[in-house]
């Protein structure tokens, strides 16, 4: 796990760098398929590949903690949540040609612009910065844990409060008392999302 110590440069890639680029290409491909496939469930599954690819990249950068967090949170919960969402909204299995909204080009422009900005900013900022990954690694669980429980102990505890509040909120919003038993969700419960208190309404009334 060392870069070519003392002789950093793009012209003499190490094994790690080659692996990094290969995994990166795979991740990019998976991401592309995610947004282009016509099958919703497939998209979700390709997302798993893309997010997993990120985790591997983190590992290659010796950030093992972040890598496992990535797997846990994104692969483990976000994608699962997505799949749940697809199931609960009775999304069709198979092709759904009408899934595209027609704003694809706009989305493409936004995505490219965002990516370009990011790349530019990061490259601009870290143009020739070389981080020595030797020694006790930054991203290891041990270091992270030590820092978390020393320096970040207050934000960490505050986060626990946040989770508690979220828990209470979830209960408040979903708790059903004794008198009602109905299916979890039905069409009639879908929230009307279009401006009820909009200015137009306010003016009409």
């Amino acid at each position: 796990m060392t870069l070519a110590a003392g002789h950093p440069g793009f012209m003499s890639p190490t094994g790690v760098e080659i692996a990094f680029v290969l995994v990166g290409i795979a991740t990019l491909g998976a991401a592309l398929v995610t947004v282009t496939t016509k099958q919703l469930v497939h998209a979700a599954l390709w997302l798993v590949v893309a997010l997993g690819g990120f985790a591997v990249e983190y590992l290659l950068l010796t950030a093992e903690f972040i890598a496992w967090v990535q797997v846990l949170i994104y692969v483990g919960s976000v994608v699962v949540l997505l799949l749940f969402g697809l199931m609960l909204t009775k999304a069709p299995i198979g092709r759904s040609p009408d899934a595209d909204s027609g704003n694809g080009w706009v989305a493409l422009v936004v995505a490219v612009a965002a990516a370009a900005t990011l790349v530019w900013v990061v490259v601009d900022a870290f143009r020739s910065t070389w981080v020595d990954l030797g020694g006790a690694a930054q991203g290891s669980a041990k270091v992270t844990g030590a820092i978390l429980f020393r320096h970040w102990v207050l934000p960490f505890e505050a986060l626990s409060v946040l989770l508690l509040a979220a828990l209470v909120g979830a209960i408040v919003l979903s708790k059903r008392g004794a008198p009602a038993r109905r299916s979890l969700l039905s069409k009639s419960e879908a929230l009307p999302m279009r401006g009820v208190p909009s200015e137009r309404k306010a003016r009409e009334s």
């Binding site: 999302m193 279009r194 401006g195 009820v196 909009s198 200015e199 137009r200 309404k201």
Partner: protein
């Protein structure tokens, strides 16, 4: 002791708060609360007075700084009090007479269902008046000034159901506004000139300003004083203000509020001393008013209005004295105090008479009352003797000094002013004798009480039996006791003040004093005064005492008729001010409609249009809100980067 100054004002203010906020549930005890807090205030005043007497002369000034209201740069608006000998005199007068009138009102207003509110207003008046005389800067004085204006408006219009009362209240308010405007402009000019509102620095540097500025300030202050003290040309409201309940007339329009102008001029003595032109204007206003009021007083048949004319005239004396400068300040204040006693006593006596006479105010329908109301007769009589300056009584000591000081001004001015003051004393004797004779002597000219439904001018709360002859009777204790106390003051106050020049020595450290060089000696003045007094009194006796008095007033000469109409003051106001004002207003309204409104409405319409267009953006869709946020972020980031690039 400093903090007691706040309590002095605080007690009646608290009373006003309790009584006005407390609502109907306090109806049963309201008047007691009002009296108690007025008495508390008097008690504190007396304690402070005792404390002050115990100190050496040069350390008698107490100050109390409560807090600063937004000090910004050079602008300091402090809530701070200053209690010196001048303020102390007023404090004792205001709280003392005020307490007596509170007690009197318990009986007088006994049948009025709004008695609690009345006491609330009285307390409010006390607090505002105390604030006025205790302020240590012009801004706070102005707050008190407006406060008494408000209280007097509320009290004059207390019987709102009487259209005349409502109109009178409005009139007093509007006329006072003119004066208040003068005062407020004066304060602004003061601030731009001296950079402060506080009395101390202003007076210390009074002479530093240019003569023109000093004169402007002085004249503007005088305008303010004219409004509040009912001096010509802003005198017209005082007569109408008698529509208020009689205790109000006694407290506000005789003893205390109307003297605020005299206080202002005396307090600002340093400025007037440095501006002789303004000082002369004060003298002239005082002299004119003293004649004006006296003449009006001679012609009125309404007892309260006759007394109001007399008030105007007596304050004219005070103004005259205050305008004389250091020769006169002390006597102005001394006359103010003695006048507070006897005029309050006279008004309370008048109220007592009305109380016994079915609320009749026309003196031509009185007569022979001395047999029916002995206490009122005696106290009123003592007040009468005091006001005309009967030797030995209060008025004699203070009024003679003013006449003497007027002569002492020297030169032609001195002769004119002194002459006017002397003549005024004669007329005073005339009209006061007239009131006395018409009311208490002669045959009984009583008439059946008018039907209250047909004549709206009747004070409510007093039992009226339409069609019956009145049954004059003495008033209850709560009314007679204050009258007796005030009568004592009318008799002895002046004498006490004059023993060993006590009052002069008391007030001198504040106002300063200088003896003028009178071209006539003291005994000459006294003798002359006595002569005009006897002549005036005798004339009145000859006219009203020896002949039967017609119940309906004769047409009278042109002068009498003019005097009955307050020397045409309202007509003057109407023709010159109201008509002129109407024309001015009409043309302004035209301008306003065509130009200003156009501009304002145009602006309003364009703002409204812009508003309507802008709110289109607020369409209720989250996605467009998010886009606007994203756009905003992009703009912000770009602008930040741009700033670096530039």
């Amino acid at each position: 002791m400093d903090h007691l100054i706040g309590a002095l004002i605080g007690a009646p203010l608290l009373g006003a708060g309790i009584l006005l906020v407390g609502g109907r549930r306090l109806d049963r005890v309201g008047h007691w609360i009002g009296c108690l807090l007025a008495a508390v205030s008097f008690g504190i005043g007396a304690a402070l007075f005792a404390d002050m007497l115990g100190k050496p002369t040069d350390q008698r000034t107490l100050t109390s700084h409560l807090y600063s209201w937004v000090p910004v740069g050079g602008f300091r608006a402090d809530v701070a009090f200053q209690l010196d000998q001048l303020s102390m005199t007023f404090v004792l007068l205001i709280t003392g007479v005020g307490t007596l009138i509170h007690i009197y009102s318990i009986g007088y207003m006994a049948h009025d269902e709004n008695r609690r509110r009345f006491f609330g207003y009285l307390n409010l008046f006390l607090a505002a008046m105390l604030l006025l005389v205790l302020a240590d800067n012009y801004l706070l004085l102005y707050v008190g000034w407006e406060g008494v204006g408000l209280a007097s408006y509320l009290l004059i219009g207390f019987w709102q159901h009487k259209p005349s009362a409502a109109t009178a209240a409005k009139k007093a308010f509007i006329v006072n506004r003119v004066g208040d405007m003068g005062l407020s402009i004066a304060i602004m000019v003061l601030f731009t000139t001296y950079g402060t509102f506080s009395f101390g620095p202003v007076f210390a540097h009074a002479t530093g300003a240019s003569q023109a500025k000093l004169t402007v300030i002085g004249l503007l202050l005088l305008l303010g004083a004219c409004g509040k003290s009912a001096q010509v040309p802003l005198q017209s409201w005082l007569g109408d203000a008698m529509e208020g309940p009689t205790p109000v007339s006694a407290l506000i329009h005789a003893a205390t509020m109307v003297t605020a102008g005299v206080y202002l001029v005396t307090r600002s003595g340093a400025i007037f001393n440095a501006a002789p032109t303004a000082q002369l204007a004060v003298c002239v206003v005082g002299a004119v008013t003293l004649m004006f009021g006296a003449i009006v007083g001679c012609a009125k048949d309404d007892i309260k209005k006759a007394l109001a004319g007399s008030t105007m005239s007596q304050i004219g004396y005070m103004m005259l004295a205050a305008g004389l400068g250091p020769i006169g300040y002390v006597f102005a204040i001394m006359h103010l105090v003695t006048h507070g006693f006897f005029k309050a006593g006279l008004f309370l006596g008048a109220g007592s008479v009305m109380h016994g006479m079915n609320d009749e105010v026309d003196m031509r329908k009185y007569g022979g009352l001395r047999r029916y109301m002995p206490i009122t007769y005696v106290t009123f009589g003592l007040g009468y003797l005091a006001i005309i300056g009967f030797p030995g009584l209060s008025g004699y000591w203070s009024k003679d000094k003013i006449i003497e000081a007027a002569f002492a001004k020297g030169g032609t001015e001195g002769w004119i002013l002194g002459g006017v003051a002397l003549l005024g004393a004669g007329i005073t004797a005339y009209y006061m004798t007239r009131v006395m004779v018409l009311t208490f002597f002669g045959e009984e000219r009583w008439e059946p009480a008018p039907d209250p439904d047909k004549t709206p001018g009747v004070e409510p709360g007093i039992e009226v039996h339409p069609g019956e002859l009145p049954h004059p009777h003495e008033s209850p204790r709560s009314m007679t006791i204050p009258m007796v106390i005030l009568a004592f003051g009318s008799v002895f106050a002046g004498g006490l003040f004059s023993i060993n020049s006590a009052f002069l020595k008391w007030l001198e450290p504040v106002t300063g004093h200088s003896e003028g060089h009178s071209p006539v000696s003291t005994w000459e003045v006294t003798a002359a005064t006595l002569v005009v007094l006897v002549v005036g009194g005798a004339l009145a006796w000859a006219q009203y005492g020896r002949r039967p008095v017609p119940v309906t007033a004769p047409r009278g000469s042109l002068v009498t008729r003019a005097a009955r109409r307050d020397l045409l003051q309202d007509d003057f106001n109407h023709i010159v001010l109201v008509r002129g004002g109407e024309h001015l207003t009409r043309s302004l309204v035209y301008l306003d409609h065509s130009l200003v409104d156009g501009a304002v409405n145009g602006t309003a319409a364009s703002v409204g249009g812009l508003s309507a267009r802008l709110r289109q953006v607020q369409n209720g869709y989250v996605r467009s809100y998010a886009v606007s946020m994203l756009g905003g972020t992009a703009v912000l980031v770009a602008a930040t980067l741009l700033m670096r690039a530039v």
